[in-house]
Amino acid sequence: MSGGHAHHTLYLPGTSVLHRLPAQVKLVAAVLAVLAIVAAPREQFWAFGVFAVVIVILAVTAGIPLLLIARRLLIELPFIGFALLLPFVASGERTDVLGLHLSTDGLWGAWELLATATLGVSVSILLASTTPLREVLTGLERLRMPTLIVQIMSFMIRYADVVADELRRMRIARESRGFVASNIRHWPVLGRSAGALFVRCFERGERVHLAMLSRGYTGRMPQPEGDGATMTTWGLALSLPVLFAAVSLTAAVLT
């Protein structure tokens, strides 16, 4: 079952330091690192350069092709559109760039949004491509995320492919009867598909629950064992956000 998620997970098997660190340590380090990036003052270009170089070094160490990261970065495309609009709509002082009358603050805002969003998504990609789904869930559980939320997440991941297949079968069934949705008048048919999908999902949920009960489920899943993080691994992983925070702080002092 775990092998079937290849098309929507980013995980790339490997043996680098990044792969071997326990998931909970990586989660904390990633969130703190992105916070440090967000907090960096936008006037200090060098700080963002340092962040980018460190992220690239990490990616190379982990054996993640930079092209793959670049392709996954496309996910932020809608926001690039927004960022490009900022220089036109922001208020404040104006300046002339290539014959266009633009807002200085808007230009700064666009730069900041592009830089932090790109670096932030890159950190998320590093995390997702070096950590298998199951370990992310174990990591969250070790970080005291309520068990029930972790369980719901694990059910969601486990059944995502099953339900996506259900949706695909319904589309094939519609299309083999000569129906292809092409305009707004076709919404009632798609609405019925969405309704049918809900009934199927809910009934599957009920079946899964009964199957679990018959196997002795009492509201708790078996706990994962061992592999807690040592102080050394925490220190190793947290050196990334500490470095980023130091850069951010230096940049803030220099501003």
């Binding site: 916070l35 996910i75 700064w108 949706l167 009492t218």
Partner: protein, 231 residues
């Protein structure tokens, strides 16, 4: 509306994270009440449903298409707490596992797309379903109107975050006008699709529509519907 990192500054992102965590804890308690020991498998499958229905494309015109956001739909189908919880789990999985939406923006994203949507959409649907005539056909109308209004309302919450911690000095009225303008259009689509989806489920399995329990009763026959307490 999946905001990336850097859209909202660090202090407000952290504050939104705290709000989101508190809201989630509340939803978790409520969901246990709505589903008891069936919570994990059922909420899991409803979360997959929200995730899947976002992949179902509704053609609009000229090759463009839209999809459901599903916050109010989920609340109308499985109850407000479970609904909000499921949408939040979808956002968590997208943010943590698929690098979709920023890590530091998770709090902002959960607060507006899950908590705010359900907080506006569900009470509104409840109000409408009590106000409109009893006939079965009116329930999808109530759900649709509530879903349609919840989308621009949630976008206003995002504008609120922007006002508190936006990183660029864009005049607030410009941001509000653009966000609400776009989301009114999205809301119209959301409302129509929600109404059609609820109508389809209501005709096949009326027992699966949570909102159906609150339809106006005939005065004498049945005791008044139980009151729900909203968060």
């Amino acid at each position: 509306m999946h905001a990336p990192d850097g859209f909202i500054d660090a202090p407000v992102s952290i504050a939104a994270g705290v709000v989101a965590a508190g809201g989630l804890a509340l939803c978790l308690r409520g969901a246990r009440r709505e589903l008891d020991d069936r919570t994990a498998p059922l909420a899991g499958l409803v979360a997959v449903y929200v995730f899947a229905v976002q992949m179902l494309n509704f053609p609009v015109a000229g090759g463009t298409s839209g999809h459901l956001l599903g916050g109010t739909l989920a609340a109308v189908l499985v109850g407000p707490y479970t609904g909000a919880l499921c949408v939040a789990v979808v956002l968590l999985v997208q943010g943590l596992l698929f690098a979709d939406g920023g890590l530091t923006a998770l709090g902002v994203n959960i607060t507006d797309m899950s908590l705010a949507t359900v907080l506006v959409g569900f009470p509104l649907a409840l109000l409408l379903v009590r106000a409109l005539p009893r006939a079965k056909g009116w329930l999808p109308v109530a759900a649709g109107i509530a879903a349609g209004i919840s989308v621009p309302a949630a976008s206003l919450v995002f504008v609120g975050f922007y006002a508190l911690g936006g990183t660029t000095d864009v005049s607030l009225t410009t941001v509000a006008a653009a966000m609400v303008g776009v989301h009114v259009l999205i809301g119209i689509g959301e409302g129509l699709i929600t109404a059609m989806t609820v109508a389809a489920i209501l005709s096949a399995r009326p027992d699966l529509v949570y909102l159906n329990r609150f339809r106006k009763r005939e005065a004498a026959a049945v005791p008044a519907a139980p009151m729900v307490q909203e968060v």
